[in-house]
Symmetry: D2
Subunit: 435 residues, 4 copies
């Protein structure tokens, strides 16, 4: 998490201020629950809320205490006692530090997920708008980087849209994975705390109770969360790389928006580089890399060890902040993408009609030739075109074996772009529910 690739809303989730605020809420809700059950005085709970609700927790002070105690929750509770007074002794009754830490982490991850889901919604909106805008803009479809057959630019974006619909569903599932609360004590037995406290705090914090915890919330949940983020980042990378390819000098079918003051290069003033999407490619590598340590965090020893903690202090913020930034940047790229239909047409025409070869092949087969013969005829007319020696249509019409099988009119019909787009509506219907 570095400022360059951060946005304030997501960063705020991971600030010490937010963390202490969430800790307070968990502790205070737990005290309220304890008061309702009759374990601690109701007045104590009320005092804690009254004095703590709007308190500003002094991060420097807590850090100073932790420097001595080497224990963050004790440091916080000590500071809380300074604010709340003697009633503070009713706070944290029967709880263990992890009850606070783990529930807090999950609150943070849930909030982060909410932002990420909103990010995806914005991206989906941009993709949809541009997809409809270019629903029928012809462009070459490529496999292996080689021209294949015509598609539309809208279809490309539809594909991306469908992918990010899946992304959204995965983020919702990932959010569910970590939306749990544990207030179960030192080894998860509720020996010193009534399970009703957990149920109460969970509901108050927008979580569900963890069915069985040890001292900690099991880390397979978090592994699934961060693994999902890694997959999401890979989808970001895919669309970013598509833009990078489209912006290549020789292709130039689209370009990232280029602001006026921006200089592409200190040396080559004409250059307009796809730096945003190149950046996204790198950010995707980072978010992806966090999946592994998250998975290694699962196998904690016995009821828990604390090896996961340092990992989560890093990847918690890093993964969510970076992915949030990446999604927002990608949305900007899509939203303002400069799209060049004329250049798309020029590229489509580049191969002298070869992109229609499969259609000719099919027409020959349907005219009764064997698959092998059809293939041979198409290939022998395609090869000269490939070498820049003529147009495919002309050569086909001049080939006696082809002519014998297909009248000129039928050969020409194979070169109709509309033929390729007749199911665009079907696909749009499938993906957007409307065409």
């Amino acid at each position: 998490m570095i400022p360059r690739y951060s946005r304030p809303e997501m960063t705020a989730i991971w600030s010490p201020e937010t963390r202490f605020r969430i800790w307070f809420e968990i502790e205070a809700h737990a005290t309220t629950a304890l008061a309702e059950i009759g374990i601690v005085p109701k007045e104590a709970a009320e005092t804690i809320w009254a004095k703590g609700r709007d308190a500003v927790f002094d991060v420097a002070r807590i850090d100073a205490i932790e420097a001595v105690t080497k224990h963050d929750v004790i440091a916080f509770l000590t500071h809380l006692a300074e604010i709340v007074g003697p009633e503070a002794r009713f706070v944290h009754q029967g709880m263990t530090s992890s009850d606070v830490l783990d529930t807090c982490l999950n609150v943070q991850l849930v909030r982060a997920a909410d932002i990420l889901i909103a990010d995806v919604d914005a991206l989906l909106a941009a993709l949809k708008r541009r997809a409809f805008e270019h629903k029928l803009t012809p462009t070459i479809g490529r496999s292996h980087g080689i021209h294949a057959e015509p598609v539309t630019f809208g279809l490309k974006l539809t594909q991306a849209y469908a992918e990010f619909v899946r992304v959204r569903a995965r983020l919702v599932a990932a959010r569910e994975e970590v939306a749990t609360c544990a207030i179960s004590g030192a080894v998860g037995t509720f020996a010193n705390i009534d399970p009703r406290v957990e149920v109460y705090v969970a509901e108050a914090m927008g979580l569900t109770p963890e069915p069985v915890s040890t001292q900690v919330i099991p880390r397979d949940r978090h592994a699934m969360f961060f693994a999902t983020l890694g997959v999401v980042a890979s989808s970001v990378e895919r669309l970013a790389i598509e833009v990078r390819h489209l912006q290549r000098t020789e292709v130039l079918e689209a370009e990232e928006f280029f602001s006026e003051g921006q200089k592409g290069s200190s040396a080559m003033p004409h250059k307009r580089n796809p730096v945003l999407t190149e950046n996204l490619t790198g950010l995707a590598r980072m978010v992806r890399s966090f999946a592994l340590p998250a998975m290694e965090n699962v196998a904690l020893w016995h009821e828990r060890d604390i090896s996961h903690s340092s990992v989560e202090r890093m990847i918690g913020p890093d993964a969510t902040v970076t992915l949030d930034f990446a999604l927002a940047r990608l949305t900007g790229v899509v939203d303002k993408l400069l799209i060049y239909p004329e250049q798309m047409q020029r590229n489509l025409d580049k191969l002298g009609g070869l992109v229609h070869s499969q259609r000719v092949l099919l027409a020959l087969t349907q005219a009764g030739l064997s698959r092998e013969d059809s293939y041979r005829l198409v290939q022998r007319n395609a090869m000269p075109v490939w070498r820049g020696e003529g147009e495919f249509l002309t050569l086909l019409k001049a080939d006696p074996e082809v002519s014998a099988a297909l009248p000129a009119q039928e050969i020409e019909a194979c070169f109709d772009l509309g033929y390729h787009f007749k199911h665009v509506d079907t696909i749009f219907e499938r993906v957007f529910g409307t065409a």
Copy 2:
């Protein structure tokens, strides 16, 4: 995928025989659909089914053809034509190789997921049985590898059970991710094939149509699939490491089953090593490692490149076969685990009662002492016990400050194991729906 860590049912999914059989089914169903739409003669479709349904595809022959054509689907179609005769020219009409390859891969992954889900069901059954068997077997709960407070061995297994319930749900979701079919032609536009063929084949193969494909089914689906397997493997590792810890010479609370003929060591005949769970630890590392290349596979160029193919040829079998083997092995370990309640009790007693310190702390607080004072009193009596200088209960009773706050009877009550297990039923209810 090596035979040592493979089981035949899963391995069979990835054999060339199975692959060609699935290819045939896809091609034949597509031809039937084309016949229903009226594109190819119904008799052709019938002949293809008649001659192909029980045909044995000659793997060596197909390999030989591929050695020349360097194209696997063309090689298969050529061989199919040898079997089916002239009607073979109606096969693969308007389709592209990836229609067959990608739909086949997804059929294989779905079948693999079905086996993995069944594996988890077997594991869950074993965990549940052993959990109830040891529902109230006392054992020490440990955090940081240090004795904390009592739990029951059944609770440990309940935790594992709950984790594998999540694993199961994740596998079901992963299966859904890849249960799609694409028959959409060279760049996914259905230019040469009616979308109804895709719908037909999808249903026939137990899949759903991919809403929008390019030439290929988008690889974010597969990335999610393999990432999920990596997370699942991490849960396998967790339980395996728990067993390894329990079997340590100094702990010895449980042991892997040790068959009669088995030799633990060529040099030290007394040794009984947790080799199965050590093995599972290694296998988990492997399954986890496959998540990364699967994620890197997402960003294919434009409508597709084929870089994903070599990765999938490896991790498709490797990840599923290895995880299947690991889950089955883990089930065996759980099922036959030798559990030593007496040794658990000995370990529980090891710390001279220190495991009850939190309870004493709480009792002191509830008796009106400040948190800090209570902590100080507990710690000053705990430290000698830790050094092996006395029993905790004795020292507490002899401490005047403690006695002043708590009568001897109340101190003794803090050492009651039953206190810790009073919510075991609650947890069992939560996890198993019954206690």
Copy 3:
């Protein structure tokens, strides 16, 4: 490791036959050393060599024994006793299984490294030949996928050559890392075996003695080995992706060799796809992924656990076989690469002279203009060219401010390609030692 991506020489290293042969050699050399020290009879050692030297070890028989003993080395020794007779009791004296297993693994890795180094040598030879062949073939240099300034195709290959010189050095270092032998007994103390045996066996097997082992050879060595292979794979990927870019339809500056019988696509007969280098991209992902489990293998428990074993049974063959295949395939690609200088020139000319903009910028600065003014002048003439509205040279000469600073002749001199290649010899000297 799958046959499709395997070459026999490397695969043979990992066959059971080779493994048992190496085991025999280690055991037999150790017995010889023990005989020299006087621990076992010299005749015993001689008998073992005499009967074992040309023996064929029966893999199926050893597997059958292992199925009972569940211990591979004991199974082998049992079979060896069947071959050698009563003298077999002098084999493995004071040794532990890992002495054999780990030393064998290192012999295999050293042999694998030797093949990989030879692979790199072949690749270097191909790169050098093609580099000199195209030492002065002009082509556009690109940054961010955007045309930058001219380079030569030979320079591109020189860069690759220099990278693979580093690759070679890294492989030599990786080979050194694993070229050790341990014959140190059950916990590495030499309690039951004289250290001189280790020294003897090490020398006989072409290794050096491990200074201190536990029961096993420390796995940081192997982690370094496989991490190095991952880095090497990344260099393979880089060159592969360069070829894929060059073969793009719009670029087409080079192509993988296309054999006569090869079909690019079942549907589009004109297609010539860079399938070899796409394949290399995928293989690189796999080899890279093996670095992680190798690193996780380092932290074995205490004097050893066996979690590394399953990992190494997989990645030992998989990483070396796949990388060997990839390097050989890459060498073939380079060796037979179709290179199109005319198309390179066409692409060079594509931007209407903009690739010379930096030179103009520099000339203006040297003529006394400020950096900012020079930049402004270059950019205002570059932008129309970028939009396809004119040639850069023409516009510059027509710009009064530019003309005021630079006479026409000096502007024209900025467009000389030779200017860019004046240090090609220097670079070739640096990299090849000759130009």
Copy 4:
């Protein structure tokens, strides 16, 4: 990189102040070289040094300029011109941004490597001191977590020492990998800058010239650097996990130093948790994870894309700062480790003498019994001991078949600890050069 896991010396390397200082030095040295060659006036170079040498670069000002230009080097040069005045136009002549950025990154990595190497030296010193201190402290060697045979605690540390000697050598090699300088212009051809400038700057900055660069220094170097750090982190993890195991309640052979004010748990005051080494386990996961994105950075497109940049902005600081912190923390742990020889002896005695079983086995074999018979005899006496039914020595002496083969005295001799330590000196000689 988070403050909690950072040390100031390493963090300083990555501050904007340091970065701009290095940029200045590179630019100023380059100008000096240009002046020596006669391209720019000597006075200009002198002025630049005179005004820049002690200048404080205003980070906020540079950031503000970059916010407009979106180009960091141009922003810096603009600010430098504000400090230097008109002579600034001679700065950066013929250079490209990457000349500055990449050379700077390598300077930073080299400095980071120097700190890491010094860290390892400190760790080695601590390991050596403690190894000699406990050279002959008996402790049980364990394989699979099961007692095997006696070792000394010094031997354990010797193993770690030897591992970190390798770590040091790897760090030195990694430092070499990145100790290069490129001043070669926009596409690495030296078109606009004399290669002698690169040579001059390289020497001035303590680097060697990159033999051939593109626009950037090739990233296989950095991949190797970060992969090495990942392997180093795995060695850190190994030693950390050893300590964690030793500190387990049931083992308790060693403990992390426990400072007075430190509280182990908010709930269980007696707890002394190995939190430092658990933390190191997590940090190792992080450092390891950075290897993957570094490897993915290698395959930049053509002469460069900028996808590596965001990755390096993160992992450059994160990997080096985290590993520096980890090494320093590990040194502290080793230095102050509480070591309990008496508990080691207690554990050694735990198995009733079974740890000597291999020696008995060997003695029986040497007394003429077959391997199989010896094994059977040892195992039948070992099994009751394992079940806690007697002492191994007593049982062996009472076994008539054993007695028949070995006189009581010889059986007893098998239980001598000194036997196991007779080669400790040899191993110390090998590793430390002195015993």
